[in-house]
């Protein structure tokens, strides 16, 4: 009881940036964003800057002078480092990944915080409203993110907002959106996603259009919520992460509610019986994989935006960008919640962003036979499953955040015959580079478990090999003596 009260008290002290603008200011102040005053071209140049920032782990570029689009700006790579993720949560930028993860778990295990709907007059996103013939996506500084992309991408770091027509569930999801013409966007919506299910189960069979709103330039925590595979509705999840209710406002042309502090809102209808081409696009796997195809088509009815609106850009490609970082982070933590809810003695779950969120590393106390298989079945069978295809299970003595230890465990303990289990005919995505063209087209997947646990039926004294490392084989007093004398021996390395 005492612990719960303490946690609740800490939640009240959250001082996370409430808007994209507050977030940019905080990042500039800490040195995690740079203001670029010189003119930047929306045609490739802005994308190239963001890509290079991702690959170098640089500060986020805040580009204030966009060619052809006076008054608009770009903020690129908003959450492509753990430092900026910590800032978004109102934490010290130097916080470690386990600390950030613990804070995320604490907040997302708290009580949901309902959003509040505010008056249109108080909503910054209504400062400019384009309706009717004025609606034209080319009035927005939509960037060509990568040379050779199928088009200029409106939505790379955003939320597509829809509501289930029967259940009323609100969904904020990051479904990429390409500008086809001034009134039309096309996007990749996987059939297993929340929006994909709503379209195929309800709207398409009835021939009904699905109202949508795209919110760009969200607060970083709203973007985090839109990216997270959590069962909690994103408006409530955003409130839990921020420690206060998110402010919503009603759309101009449909009944959806959108984040009032977002920079840009695009409203319209997903058409049930008309499709245009989408892609190719540089994707989070580090490749252009999914083929150009006729995809879900969004017809635009209204655009609203703040004065001096900032468009957020995520440039996906080789690691690491915020798609990889944030999805790895939230997928790992959501799986940890799931496994713990089933009573499995996991010691931690981690996805390295450089796996492009394809490999889940699970640490567990190997207390009974088949525990790795149970973990894999839960992981692959859950809503999270289609987003990764490898689960590696290691014991609780292996540091899951230390790739050297994990790799050593994998290479030495995973028996080629008994430790590798392939799951066939599962759910995949069109974006998997290793998938066949046929599998990509129909979202057919395959997945694999790497069981790196010593078998429980091996005699622990005589059959299980002994790990030979400095920390594991020498007596404590010898370890301390050697460490204390390290410099005296003539070594220059730091004490460890």
């Amino acid at each position: 009881m005492g612990k719960i009260s303490e946690a609740e008290t800490k939640l009240e002290k959250i001082s996370a940036p409430r808007t994209n603008r507050e977030f940019i200011d905080a990042c500039v102040k800490s040195g995690d964003a740079v203001r670029i005053k010189q003119e930047v071209d929306w045609d490739n140049e802005a994308g190239a800057i963001v890509r290079r920032c991702c690959e170098l782990g640089e500060a986020a570029p805040f580009m204030e002078n966009i060619k052809d689009y006076p008054g608009f700006s770009y903020f690129g790579a908003p959450l492509s480092t753990y430092r900026r993720m910590a800032i978004s949560l109102g934490m010290d930028p130097a916080s470690t990944l386990p600390q950030i993860g613990a804070e995320y778990l604490k907040r997302t295990n708290s009580e949901p915080i309902e959003p509040v709907v505010i008056d249109k007059r108080d909503a910054p996103c209504k400062e400019n409203i384009l309706l009717g013939d004025d609606v034209d996506l080319t009035k927005l500084p939509v960037p060509l993110v990568h040379d050779g992309d199928g088009g200029r991408y409106v939505g790379t770091w955003h939320a597509v907002i829809t509501k289930h027509p029967v259940r009323g569930d609100v969904n904020w999801g990051m479904y990429r959106q390409m500008m086809w013409d001034g009134r039309t966007m096309s996007g990749a919506v996987f059939p297993f996603s929340d929006l994909g299910k709503a379209l195929t189960e309800y709207y398409l069979p009835r021939g009904e259009g699905c109202p949508f709103a795209t919110a760009i330039g969200l607060s970083p925590l709203a973007a985090m919520a839109a990216c997270a595979p959590s069962p909690i509705p994103e408006p409530e999840l955003t409130g839990m992460l921020a420690g206060e209710a998110v402010r919503l406002v009603k759309c101009e042309t449909n009944d959806l509610e959108v984040p009032a502090d977002a920079e840009i809102i695009i409203e319209g209808m997903i058409l049930p019986d008309y499709k245009v081409e989408e892609g190719p696009f540089g994707e989070y796997t580090g490749y252009r994989t999914s083929p150009r195809d006729f995809r879900v088509t969004f017809r635009v009815d209204a655009i609203t935006y703040r004065n001096n609106a900032t468009m957020t850009i995520s440039n996906m490609g080789v690691p690491q960008d915020e798609g990889q970082l944030l999805r790895s982070f939230s997928l790992g933590l959501e799986l940890e919640k799931l496994l713990k809810s089933q009573g499995i003695p996991v010691t931690g779950v981690y996805m390295h962003p450089r796996s492009t969120h394809h490999m889940m590393i699970v640490g567990v106390k190997p207390t009974y036979a088949g525990i790795a298989m149970q973990i894999a079945q839960l992981a692959f069978g859950s809503k999270l499953g289609p987003w990764f295809h490898m689960v590696m299970v290691v014991d609780d003595q292996t540091d899951i955040f230390n790739w050297d230890e994990v790799y050593h465990a994998f290479c030495t303990r995973c028996n080629p015959e008994r430790g590798i289990h392939v799951f066939k005919n599962t759910t995949g995505t069109a974006l998997y580079p290793h998938a066949t063209p046929h599998d990509r087209k129909y979202s057919i997947g395959s997945q694999v478990l790497f069981d790196c646990l010593w078998p429980v039926d091996w005699d622990k004294t005589n059959d299980v090999p002994t790990l030979v490392s400095f920390k594991s084989v020498y007596p404590k007093d010898i370890q301390e003596k050697v460490v204390d004398n390290w410099a005296n021996y003539g070594f220059r390395g730091a004490k460890k």
Binding site: D147, G148, G150, G151, L271, P280, R288
Partner: protein, 85 residues
């Protein structure tokens, strides 16, 4: 002034010469409309001086083809159902 266009194809064989084609092409003319698409009836030719406009080609994963064409846009085609316009 001649217009610049671009098209995505899986195979250059899709760009048959000597007959009318219906393609989804995007403009490469400088300006706010750059990279926006339209559906159009066109003729293409590998002879670069055959038609007034130029056409460059990208393949399935965005690779720029070295093969260039000239193109004549005969008319645009609006396939969007009337009820959505």
């Amino acid at each position: 002034m001649a217009n610049k266009w671009e098209v995505f194809v899986m195979d250059l064989g899709e760009l048959a010469e000597g007959k009318q084609l219906e393609l989804t092409v995007r403009t490469l003319n400088d300006g706010l409309q750059k990279y926006t698409y339209q559906r159009a009836k066109v003729e293409v030719s590998s002879k670069l001086d055959q038609f007034p406009d130029s056409l460059q080609v990208r393949l399935g994963r965005g690779q720029l083809s070295p093969q260039r064409y000239s193109i004549r846009v005969i008319e645009t085609v609006n396939r969007l159902p009337e009820r959505y316009r």
